[in-house]
Every structure is written in structure tokens, then in C-alpha cells.
């Protein structure tokens, strides 16, 4: 009988040191659950991280874990996966670690489509260094390092992911322990780089940063949970829908202005063309609801698998299996 696992099997003995109320607790719980759902043994799982609050996560996992250096987690995780493709490899990272100092490694990991699962905890602030703006902070954001407000536009993680030809992008809420485990599981099962952006709250330095969309009173109206093959419906009463209006997406109330349920778009994460996925991912909660769930999920060859396959195919053509055999097959001469 195949062994089954419980979330506790993935929890390390280390006491969790994040601030009480930090969104990271929620994601950690969701990850434990997701791993139990996946049923991959802890010893075949490696969790890699860079630096920052988010990157403490490996210490709380009863798996193999490597807490590395700032921004380089994606490169190190890539090396782990390519060297040992049998491992399930996760990368825990934050908006600063992943998109500022580690931006280059992030886009190249995504471009290569190496089969790792990136959990991008986006709280739009530097927490561990105590409150500087991050590359996802909104223009004008006031922080310790931007006392008069920032004068730069933020990255939008989905846009960057798609710009790097990303094949899997999902978004979850830190405290949503109901759907997040399922999304993380889907991310792990996806063959290729998966990016799960978690909308993360920093209770100390950026409390309530996502409240404009995630606040209890507004959440139903300002978010939409996308599901493959399902109508894009949202709202407290499930009476709102997304329709295509010329080149734009538009939120409508079903039954008003002549819109019926038939007009509402059906979500398809699997189409190759990322245009609509990008539109969905960029909805920001003002005119259109913030998209949650799996926005894009497209199959493509993975880097680690291709590296393996290339070795297999060259081995079929060449006979040398040891250095000596190779050297002797080359340009050699004998001295007697």
C-alpha cells in the first residue's frame, strides 16, 4: 500500500519565528497541506530560499532545505533540480528577493521552464530590513527609504512572468488556507516553472496593503476566483461576470444592460496565447476584480527533462562511457 502523509509530516521541530499575524504563517500551513495532498515523501522534497522573511520558510519544513543568499534562490533551486530531477523542488521567495536582487535569476528560471515551484510572497515591502519600499510597491509609496513617496513604477509579477514566457501563474491569498493548498498542489504537479504569487500581509511594516481588495467587506466584489472551464463570475451574490468588450475586459452585472450569463467569458488557462491571461492577471481591483486561482497553465518541455534527454540521445550515438574510452577514441598516438 502506498504510504500517505499528513501535514504534520512536513513540519519541522523548529518553532516558527515570524511575527504573530504575519501572512507567512498562512502560506506555511497551506504548503504543509499541499505536500500532504501530493503525497511526495519528505526526503524527496527540497525547499530552497534566498533571503528575507519569506526565505525563513525552509527551516519550518521537515524536508531537505537550503536557506541560501539574497536573490540567488532561483539559480540554486535550478541547480538542485537539474542535478537531481527526482526531487520535487520548491523555492520560497519574496518580492524583494525575487524581483529586485534576484530578478535576473527569476526571469531566466521562468524562461528555461525548469521544473521548480516558486512561491512568491508579495507583501510589497522589505520586512527583514525593517520597512523599505520594494519593487512591487506602488508609485508614490511612502516608506523609510522613500519618505516623500517613490517616483518609480512597480513590477507586476504576472507581467514579468509572462514577459519571461512563463507557463504557470497563479495567485492566492496568504490566509486562504482552503484554496491555497489546492493551488500549490496544482503548481507542483505542473511540469515546468510554476509561479504562485501570494498576496501577503506584513502586519508590522505594511499592514493592510491588500485591504483595498481583500478587506472583508470588499473582497467578494473586488476579487474573482478563476477556475478552468468555468464562467468568470464573482460578487457577493455571484451576479457579476467578466465579458469581452472590444479589446477590453469589462465587469458587468448579469441581467443588466442586456448582459446575460451567456456573454460571460469561460476561463481557459491552457491556451498558448498569453494575451488574455495577461489581461486577467493585471486586473487590479479598481474597475476589474483581482484574479485569484490559476490564471495560466500551459504545457511545454522542461529544462531539466531536456538536459536529461539530450544526454540519453548523445549516449545512443557515442560509445565512450568513461573518460579513458573517450580519450582513446580521439587523436592519440602510441609510444612504445
Amino acid at each position: 500500500m502506498e504510504q500517505t502523509y499528513q501535514p504534520k509530516d512536513y513540519k519541522s521541530a523548529q518553532s516558527v519565528r515570524w511575527c504573530p499575524g504575519c501572512g507567512d504563517h498562512g502560506i506555511l500551513n497551506s504548503l504543509h497541506k499541499a505536500m500532504a495532498l501530493l503525497g511526495i515523501p519528505p526526503h524527496q522534497t527540497a525547499v530552497i530560499s534566498g533571503i528575507g522573511c519569506s526565505s525563513r520558510l525552509p527551516y519550518y519544513m521537515n524536508t531537505y532545505g537550503f536557506h541560501t543568499i539574497h536573490g540567488r534562490g532561483a539559480a540554486i533551486a535550478t541547480g538542485v533540480k537539474v542535478a537531481n530531477p527526482d526531487l520535487t523542488v520548491w523555492l520560497a521567495t519574496g518580492d524583494g528577493d525575487c524581483l529586485a536582487i534576484g530578478g535576473n535569476h527569476f526571469i531566466h528560471a521562468v524562461r528555461r521552464n525548469v521544473n521548480i515551484n516558486i512561491i512568491l510572497m508579495n507583501n510589497r515591502i522589505y520586512g527583514l530590513t525593517k520597512g523599505q519600499y520594494s519593487p512591487t510597491s506602488a508609485r508614490g509609496f511612502v516608506s523609510k527609504s522613500s519618505p516623500y513617496g517613490t517616483v518609480e513604477d512597480p513590477f507586476r509579477p504576472a507581467e514579468l512572468t509572462f514577459g519571461a514566457r512563463g507557463r504557470f501563474f497563479a495567485r492566492v491569498i496568504d490566509v486562504d488556507v482552503k484554496t491555497a493548498p489546492e493551488i500549490l498542489k496544482a503548481a507542483a504537479l505542473h511540469q515546468g516553472t510554476s509561479v504562485v504569487e501570494t498576496l501577503q500581509n506584513c502586519v508590522i511594516f505594511n499592514d493592510g496593503i491588500h485591504d483595498n481588495v481583500l478587506g472583508r467587506e470588499v473582497r467578494a466584489e473586488r476579487t474573482i476566483y478563476l477556475q478552468q472551464g468555468k464562467k468568470m463570475i464573482f460578487g457577493k451574490d455571484n451576479d457579476k461576470g467578466l465579458v469581452q468588450d472590444g479589446f477590453q475586459l469589462k465587469a458587468v452585472t448579469i441581467g443588466q444592460d442586456g448582459y446575460t450569463l451567456d456573454d460571460v467569458l469561460v476561463h481557459d488557462a491552457t491556451i498558448e496565447d498569453p494575451t488574455l491571461h495577461l489581461k486577467l492577471a493585471l486586473m487590479d481591483g479598481t474597475d476589474l476584480p483581482v484574479a485569484l486561482g490559476i490564471i495560466r497553465q500551459v504545457e511545454a518541455p522542461t529544462y531539466d527533462e531536456e538536459v536529461k534527454n539530450q544526454i540519453i540521445s548523445v549516449k545512443e550515438k557515442k560509445t565512450a562511457r568513461t573518460l579513458k574510452e573517450f580519450l582513446m577514441s580521439g587523436d592519440v598516438w602510441e609510444v612504445k
Binding site: 519541522s12 523548529q14 515523501p41 519528505p42 526526503h43 524527496q44 527540497a46 530552497i48 533571503i51 525552509p58 527551516y59 519544513m61 521537515n62 524536508t63 531537505y64 532545505g65 537550503f66 536557506h67 541560501t68 543568499i69 540567488r72 539559480a75 540554486i76 533551486a77 535550478t78 541547480g79 538542485v80 533540480k81 537539474v82 542535478a83 537531481n84 527526482d86 526531487l87 535576473n104 535569476h105 531566466h108 538536459v307 539530450q310 544526454i311 548523445v314 549516449k315 550515438k317 557515442k318 560509445t319 565512450a320 562511457r321 568513461t322 573518460l323 579513458k324 573517450f326 580519450l327 582513446m328 580521439g330 587523436d331 592519440v332 598516438w333 602510441e334 609510444v335 612504445k336
Partner: protein, 614 residues
């Protein structure tokens, strides 16, 4: 009058030189391979500009390939040339300083026209006089025209121009009594997919040889004795290839897969390119987005249980510093190959130096000891890379292996080794019975090495990282006394590697007053200089260091034994400074040159003799 008989020589220095597009590296390689097959000892030195194609005929675009061949004891590519092939006036001008007085200079007369001379900034139409080359034997051949003639009706003028280098090669083959069959075989392999080019090249090769034959009364020819090598199978390698092979051999001996993460950089790129060709041996190579990712993918691969390496040159080593620190504190096996080049910054990328030693030793934040070692010669890169891998794996530490552009590109004949002659490599892997009470930083009390639990191993799940850890549990710790202890432990772990290293050997006259000390890629030049001084009847001892951190255990004893110690380096005194810091009241003499060029043996001889006579 020149003596134009056949000269029987022990060794000869040949330099091919032309525009960087003239194919001088190719003919140089062909001629050295041919000579190696005939049983000569050879050391080569490709000397090329950083520009891929500088303006045609300009001084900055001159590309050269020098080699010394001989019967035995060839340690260097030679100081000055016996034969120079100069495809244009710029090549002649740049190389005039490297000529022996009665050397043979072959020029393409068709490219010594007034406009060509002007491009090379000659003021007169008499380049040899202008350069003061009075006694050289000039072979002015209309190479361009003869190539066109040879290829009439077979190939166009464009191909004829491209084949000039092969004509010169044919001529040099005649000069050295070399049969053409081997070159023809090498050319056939090289151009097997371009039959038209091959045909043209074979025709001009013969034409070049015939030209020499028909004019042989006007110039000396040479005959080189062949060598009696140690029996075995030989092939030709350069240092970068040998480095790549050393890594492969180590992975095979350790029973681990080999992974290289790297980013292209002159002069180290060939290590990556050679390894990426060896997929049939299962080697995994990633060309990453940058130098940092090169080492970081390697660190990931090492964590995952591979023999992992990254290859680079000085500027890349600077970028990798932080990640080397991670490998130091996490205690992960990693081989970092630094093919040194001239600096600082971009410096002179194609020129060689020994200026990264202190960067390798100290260029990191915190107390961050890593193993630092060096390779002596092109073929020695194999042994050095093997040792670097062995130490990294057995002592769970990053090892920085310093080679340099000179030995990386230089090549010589190499006896294909029998791996039975090499020590075993046994990484300290965890064993199932160690499960009880195991922690990730539990150490072997003898050598202080932690045990390696590779992800995928059941019941050894653990977390490691760049944060300071508790000596006992391996958990994160900021305890002041623990940190002090860990700083000491990491250094002591490196120090104890010396217990497993061969003792430093001294060659030459061990009872001499003067000891010459070197390290790394200057071995050939120093050996030759020391041997010349001794042949002149003077006593001198010589020791050359492979292991720098840690130093061999008898270093102190050796250095104190001699009245005068001369440390010779291609930097401003980095090894000398390091030795001073390690050995109480040690005060050596120094000879330092930082020109981006190999040492001149004659200059070394002068310096050593000065000290002996003093």
C-alpha cells in the same frame, strides 16, 4: 653569408603571426599536433588580441601562435623565435622583438606593398631595415599569388586568400622536414564537411611545400630529434581541456555525476565548452545567465549530491565571492576554477597573470577560509583539477583552483593516464546506521569534516544555509562564543587538510644557498631558468607550490633552510606577502613582472644568477 645547411637542433621556437582573421591559431595548432605525433615535446603559446577582427593589417589585430619543440626538457614556448611566419607588416613589426638574430622570417611578399606598410605604421618601404633586423634570413614568397595560381580553375580568389595560412604551413613543413601526410590527415578531419575547402587547402599545402623545396638553397632547414617518451598512449591537450578531463576523472572515481555551472569568459570558456561536449559521459553543463548563477547552480547541484564546479576568470571570481562564502559556511563541496587573466577590471582579457591569488585567499566577507591551489602546466591541469575535486568532496569545502590564460591555452603532449595511479575519492556520505543522533554539522573528529546527507536519502532530512549555526545541533545560532568556536573550526578544518597533502618537494641543488620559489603556471619558465643556471655550474634549489591554502606541512622548514629565498611571481608579490604572513620573520627576495606576457627565461636566469653571485 648565412649558413644554409640542415641544422640539427635540440629545440626550436616557431611563431606564426598574422591578422586575427588569417588563421594563425589554426596553422599553429596543426603544426604542433603534427610535431607531437612525430614524437617531439612541445609547449605552445597562443597570443591573440581581444578584438575578434581588428582593422585589417593593423598592429592591434596581430594574432600569434608560438611553440617550442624539441627532443626533451621542453618547459616553455621559448623566449625568442628561430622561425617567424609574418603574414603582413604588422605581424613583422609586433614580433621583431621576439626574434633571434639569425632567425628565418617567412613573409607574404604580396602583402608587403606600400599601403600594407603604411597600415602597420612603417615610415619607409624597408621594414626590415627600419626594425633593425640585419641578420635574419628572409624568405619573401608571393604567397597570395601562388595560392591563386595553385587554385586556378579550382576555387575563387576569395578561397585563395583564405588559404594563405595553409600555404605558409606547407612551407614550414618543408623547412622542418615534416612529411605532409599527417597534416593532410588533420586537414581532412577538420574540413570533412567542406570538401571544396579541403581540396583547396590540400593543393596550397602542397604548393607551399614545393615552393620551399624549389628554393631550398637559400635558407637553413631544421631537423629536430624526436623524444623517447614514457611508453603509453599520448594525445595533445591544452590546460582548459585537461582541467575539464580532471573533473570528469574525479567524478568517475568518486562515483558521482558531474555538474558544471558557468558563464562564458575569456580565457576560461573552453573548460565549459569541452565539458558540454561530453554528454556521452553524462556530464551536465549549464550555461547560466551570469557568473553568479554559474556558481549558484553549481552550489545547488552540490547540495543535491553531484560533484559540482564552476569555471571563470578574475572578474567572474569577484562576482562569485558571496556564493563562495555560502559554500564555506554551509560546508558544501565545490570546485571553483579561476583561469587568471590580466586585471584589474576587464584589464587585458587575453593576457595571462597571477594576480588573483589574494582575491582567492581573502576576497570574501567574514572569516571565510577556502582551499586555494594552483596548476603548473597545461597537462598538470588534469592532476590539479583531480586534486581540487578530491579535496572538495572529501573535506566538504569549496576549492579554488588557479590556472591562468597561459597554461589554459598552451598545449603539449599528454600521456593518457591510468586512473589506477590516482588516489581514490571517498566523499563522507552518511550511512544508515548513523541515523541516531545525527545532525547536519556533526563532524568527523579527525578532520572536522561534516557528513554529507544527499537529498533523497531517507531519514536524513535537514536544513542548512548561510546563517551561523550551532556547533552541536546545526540550528541557527547567534551565540557569541559559538560563533568564535565556529570561525575557528572552519579554519582548522582547512588547516587539517594538510595532513592529507603530499609534502613540498625541493629540486635542483638542495645544498644551495639560493632557493627559487614559484607557484602555478610559471613552473615551466622557472624550471628552464633553474636548469640553465645549474648547467652554467651554479648551485640553486627550486620549489614550486601547488597547495597554497593550506600550505604543505613542511613549508616552514623548507623556507628556513636556505640563506636566500627568491619568490618569483607574475604579480606584485602576492604569494610572497602570504608567505610572510604565515612564516614568522620570513623575508624573501622577490622578482615580479606584471606584463600580461610569460616570463622571459633569460631574464629569470639573470635574476637568479645575480642572487647566487651576491
Amino acid at each position: 653569408m648565412h649558413d644554409t645547411t640542415v641544422k640539427q637542433l635540440e629545440s626550436v621556437v616557431i611563431r606564426f603571426s598574422g591578422d586575427s582573421g588569417d588563421g594563425m591559431q589554426l596553422v599553429g595548432t596543426l603544426f604542433s599536433n603534427l610535431s607531437a605525433e612525430l614524437g617531439n615535446e612541445i609547449i605552445t603559446f597562443p597570443d591573440y588580441p581581444a578584438e575578434i577582427r581588428a582593422p585589417r593589417g593593423s598592429l592591434s589585430g596581430v594574432s600569434g601562435y608560438q611553440m617550442q619543440l624539441g627532443a626533451h626538457d621542453i618547459f616553455t614556448p621559448g623566449d625568442k623565435a628561430d622561425v617567424l611566419v609574418a603574414m603582413n607588416p604588422a605581424a613583422l613589426k609586433v614580433n621583431a622583438q621576439f626574434l633571434k638574430p639569425d632567425s628565418v622570417v617567412i613573409i607574404d611578399a604580396d602583402s608587403f606593398l606600400p599601403e600594407d606598410l603604411e597600415r602597420a605604421q612603417f615610415k619607409t618601404d624597408h621594414p626590415f631595415e627600419e626594425l633593425g633586423l640585419k641578420s635574419v634570413q628572409i624568405v619573401a614568397a608571393s604567397i597570395t599569388q601562388m595560392c591563386k595560381n595553385a587554385l586556378e580553375g579550382v576555387a575563387d580568389n576569395k578561397q585563395a586568400l583564405k588559404s594563405r595560412n595553409i600555404f605558409a604551413l606547407g612551407l614550414v613543413c618543408w623547412l622542418f622536414n615534416r612529411p605532409l601526410q599527417i597534416v593532410e590527415k588533420l586537414l581532412s578531419e577538420k574540413f570533412k564537411k567542406k570538401p571544396a575547402v579541403l581540396e583547396a587547402n590540400l593543393l596550397v599545402l602542397q604548393a607551399g611545400f614545393n615552393f620551399g623545396h624549389n628554393t631550398h638553397t637559400t635558407v637553413s632547414t631544421y631537423r629536430i630529434e624526436t623524444t623517447t617518451h614514457q611508453p603509453g598512449f599520448y594525445t595533445d591537450v591544452n590546460g582548459n581541456k585537461a582541467t575539464a578531463y580532471g573533473l570528469i576523472a574525479a567524478a568517475e572515481q568518486a562515483g558521482l555525476p558531474l555538474f558544471l555551472g558557468s558563464y562564458p569568459i575569456t580565457p576560461a570558456t573552453d573548460v565549459m565548452q569541452e565539458l558540454t561536449l561530453r554528454k556521452e559521459l553524462g556530464v551536465k553543463v549549464m550555461q547560466t545567465e551570469d557568473e553568479i548563477a554559474g556558481i549558484c547552480t553549481a552550489i545547488g547541484a552540490a547540495f543535491a549530491g553531484n560533484l559540482a564546479a564552476t569555471s571563470t576568470s578574475g572578474p567572474g571570481l569577484a562576482l562569485k565571492s558571496e556564493a563562495i562564502g555560502l559554500a564555506v559556511i554551509a560546508e558544501i563541496p565545490l570546485v571553483v576554477i579561476d583561469v587568471q587573466r590580466s586585471g584589474p577590471s576587464t584589464g587585458m582579457p587575453t593576457k595571462s597573470e597571477q594576480t588573483d591569488l589574494l582575491q582567492a585567499l581573502y576576497g570574501r566577507n567574514g572569516e571565510s577560509p577556502a582551499v586555494v591551489m594552483s596548476a603548473f602546466s597545461p597537462t598538470d591541469c588534469f592532476d590539479a583539477a583531480y586534486w581540487a575535486s578530491k579535496i572538495a568532496l572529501e573535506h566538504m569545502t569549496p576549492v579554488i583552483l588557479l590556472t591562468d590564460g597561459y597554461i589554459a591555452n598552451g598545449s603539449s603532449a599528454w600521456r593518457i593516464p591510468d586512473m589506477k595511479d590516482y588516489p581514490a575519492i571517498t566523499p563522507p556520505l552518511v550511512r544508515p546506521e548513523m541515523r541516531e543522533g545525527w545532525t547536519p554539522y556533526l563532524r568527523n573528529p579527525e578532520n572536522l569534516v561534516r557528513y554529507w546527507a544527499i537529498p533523497g536519502t531517507q531519514d536524513f532530512m535537514h536544513r542548512i544555509g548561510g546563517l551561523e549555526k550551532d556547533y552541536k545541533t546545526g540550528a541557527i545560532s547567534t551565540d557569541p562564543d559559538n560563533h568564535l568556536k565556529m570561525v575557528g573550526i572552519r579554519q582548522e578544518k582547512i588547516n587539517r587538510i594538510a595532513d592529507n597533502l603530499p609534502l613540498q618537494e625541493v629540486g635542483g641543488d638542495t645544498d644551495a644557498e639560493v632557493l627559487v620559489v614559484g607557484w602555478g603556471g610559471t613552473y615551466g619558465h622557472l624550471s628552464e631558468a633553474v636548469s640553465k643556471v645549474r648547467k652554467a655550474g651554479k648551485k640553486v634549489a627550486f620549489t614550486h607550490f601547488r597547495f597554497i591554502q593550506p600550505l604543505p606541512k613542511n613549508t616552514d622548514e623548507i623556507l628556513r633552510q636556505y640563506k636566500k629565498v627568491l619568490v618569483v611571481e607574475q604579480n606584485t608579490g602576492q604569494f610572497a606577502a602570504y608567505l610572510r604572513s604565515k612564516i614568522d620573520r620570513f623575508n624573501p627576495y622577490q622578482f615580479n613582472r606584471v606584463k600580461g606576457q610569460p616570463f622571459v627565461v633569460a631574464r629569470l636566469v639573470e635574476e637568479i644568477e645575480k642572487l647566487v653571485n651576491q
